[in-house]
């Protein structure tokens, strides 16, 4: 088998190669995690647009804190929730650069809600990528602002009860209402077709930045099989059945 595998590794057989913006570091994500796919798409968009030297990224606190190990662009690692504040200053002080923030739900929609709302409301010229898996992955599966009603997490072990735990937050619908956003979309990466649509959305968000007309916001509804305590296939199915009805996919705003 090994010999056959080596035999087919020739230039004319290559139909897909790793983006040159991705580093050789092995990602630390759990098998089945959506982060790796979104990282890859982000890298591909940056490579295809030829903007590796013009892009400054802002990393969050959460599972993707080390995104800077995987994409070879200049990065700043923000305090928990503060990526849009960093992005604001970077964008204003370097208007000749593309700015991209990458955050999870706890980061963007709980501790950083104020920064998210106000950066989007001011219409800061940056791409905001929002990974929504409805759970705190890095700290071990606690309830997130986007945890669904009835969904179990380590800090709502009997399922989220809106009466005591509050309601899941549709932050993306909120930022879509703000005059500062020029493109707001919700995507997923659970199928090949969805991956292609998400890549298109990220590309569009970056293209939108050329006109300097505000914040371009891409939510990716994602799985966290470790946090959800399901295998990757079950996680994808569970996401389709439970997450998508509450967080429907598609463009919410495009102006």
């Amino acid at each position: 088998m090994a010999e056959i595998t080596e035999d087919i590794k020739v230039a004319e057989n290559i139909v897909h190669k790793k983006s040159s913006v991705l580093t050789d570091k092995v990602m630390h994500y759990c098998p089945g995690c959506s982060h790796g796919v979104v990282h890859k798409l982000l890298a591909e968009v940056i490579e295809e647009m030829g903007i590796q030297d013009k892009t400054i990224g802002v990393a969050p606190v959460g599972c993707s804190v080390f995104i800077y190990n995987y994409l070879a662009i200049d990065w700043q690692e923000a305090a928990h929730g503060r990526a849009p504040a960093l992005g604001t200053a970077i964008s204003r002080l370097r208007p000749d650069r593309y700015v991209v923030t990458y955050q999870g739900d706890g980061d963007l929609a709980a501790i950083g809600t104020a920064e998210t709302i106000h950066a989007c409301n001011r219409g800061e010229n940056m791409v905001m990528i929002f990974i929504n898996n409805g759970i705190y992955g890095m700290t071990g599966g606690q309830m997130a602002p986007t945890t669904l009603e009835g969904m179990k997490a380590s800090t709502c072990p009997f399922g989220r009860d809106p009466k005591t735990d509050g309601n899941p937050l549709k932050i993306t619908e909120i930022v879509a209402q703000l005059p500062g956003t020029n493109f707001v979309t919700r995507q997923a990466v659970h199928t090949a077709a969805a991956v292609r649509r998400t890549k298109k959305a990220i590309r569009k968000a970056f293209e939108k930045q050329k006109d300097k007309t505000g914040t371009s916001f891409v939510e990716v509804v994602s799985t966290c099989n470790s946090g959800w305590k399901m295998n990757p296939v079950d996680s994808n199915n569970w996401m389709e059945e439970n997450m998508f009805p509450f967080y429907p996919l598609g463009d919410i705003k495009d102006v």
Partner: protein, 354 residues
């Protein structure tokens, strides 16, 4: 002009790239003046009113991460909100300038002047082993001068710097000599002078990462050690202070900012009575003029730390003196400013026993 206005004027003139702030009394004139002067039309300086002090300090993180000269100003409660960001900036070795026009605390406290943020300023303030470079102006002129000095030190050591002022100096009006307009650094100069900055990765270098996280504890100890080496260098090279009438003095007052001016008047009162008192005014509160206090202490019969707090700097004076001389504290606090007479009386009572 007012001390707060001098900060704004000096910021533009020294070629600062950005100011990010949130209104709070008694320092709102800083941002008001900047907005009125519209430096984005003249020097290209960015001025932005943020949604909170938390956002302001993180905007500084973003701007400093790009190698830009960025600053904010606030007063005590707002500075408390910034402590997380300051810790991150110290951890990521980012230079910035933060002005604290101190008011009385704790809590919402009062809007009147105070010096009760000394501990927070010189001992780190946020989590972790770090220090801010802390400058204490005693005049409106120094408010202006320390903006450039603060930026210079911050960039030299890649560490946040703070101007620790108070509501009195912020609101006080005095004559100021402003420096001529300096050019802002170009993006090319920024990239050349700050090769660590995130300016967009060119072919010629590996990509830059601004971060304060290191999960390997051995590596993180090494990083912390590097920070400590930097602080020892600061303590060696950057101590600034001013002494007045210390040569023949039997007693020493140690006081900074507003209290130094009040103490200077108190010393005149005491000298008229024949009590020889000198003044040591720390200009850098971190690094603290420990060695100068150690040098002067053996010549003194007693030392009085005068500060508008219940006694904070007095601890550092005592650490310097190591019990060799009596060290007492005097100060009104909670927003009350002591008078020269009160200081003079306190010195007599606490050190001479009158």
């Amino acid at each position: 002009m007012k001390g707060n206005e001098a900060i704004a004027e000096a910021a533009i003139r020294c070629g600062a790239d950005g100011y990010f702030g949130y209104p709070i009394t008694p320092q709102s004139e800083v941002m008001e003046k900047l907005m009125e002067l519209q430096p984005w039309n003249s020097t290209g300086m960015v001025v932005l009113q943020a949604e909170s002090e938390t956002a302001s300090i993180n905007m500084l993180y973003g701007g400093a991460g790009c190698g830009k000269r960025v600053m904010t100003s606030s007063s005590s409660p707002g500075i408390s909100l910034m402590q997380e960001g300051l810790s991150y900036m110290a951890g990521a070795e980012l230079p910035c300038l933060v002005v604290n026009v101190v008011r009385g605390g704790p809590g919402l406290g009062t809007i009147q002047p105070s010096q009760s943020d000394y501990f927070q300023s010189v001992k780190g303030g946020g989590h972790g082993d770090y220090k801010l470079i802390v400058l204490a102006p005693a005049s409106v002129q120094e408010m202006a001068d320390f903006v450039e000095l603060g930026f210079d030190l911050a960039f030299k050591y890649r560490n946040p710097a703070m101007i620790l002022s108070d509501g009195m100096i912020g609101q006080m009006m005095e004559k100021v000599e402003l420096k001529p307009q300096q050019k802002r650094w170009t993006d090319e100069e920024v990239a050349q002078m700050n090769p660590w900055a995130t300016t967009g990765k060119p072919e010629s270098r590996d990509y830059n990462i601004i971060t304060s996280v290191e999960l390997d504890s051995e590596a993180h100890e090494q990083f912390n050690h590097r920070l400590q080496v930097k602080y020892r260098e600061l303590e060696e090279k950057e101590v600034r202070f001013e002494t007045t009438s210390v040569d023949d003095a039997d007693y020493l007052i140690v006081a900074y900012g507003s209290s130094a001016r009040i103490s200077a008047a108190a010393i005149e009162i005491l000298r008229e009575k024949g009590i020889k008192v000198g003044l040591l005014r720390p200009i850098t509160l971190y690094p603290f003029p420990t060695k100068e206090i150690q040098r002067l202490a053996p010549k003194m019969k007693g030392i009085l730390s005068v500060e508008m707090s219940s006694g904070q700097m007095v601890e550092d004076v005592r650490l310097a003196v190591e019990g060799k001389v009596k060290v007492e504290h005097f100060g009104r606090y909670g927003g009350v400013v002591h008078s020269p007479d009160e200081v003079a009386e306190a010195l007599e009572q606490k050190l001479i026993g009158g």
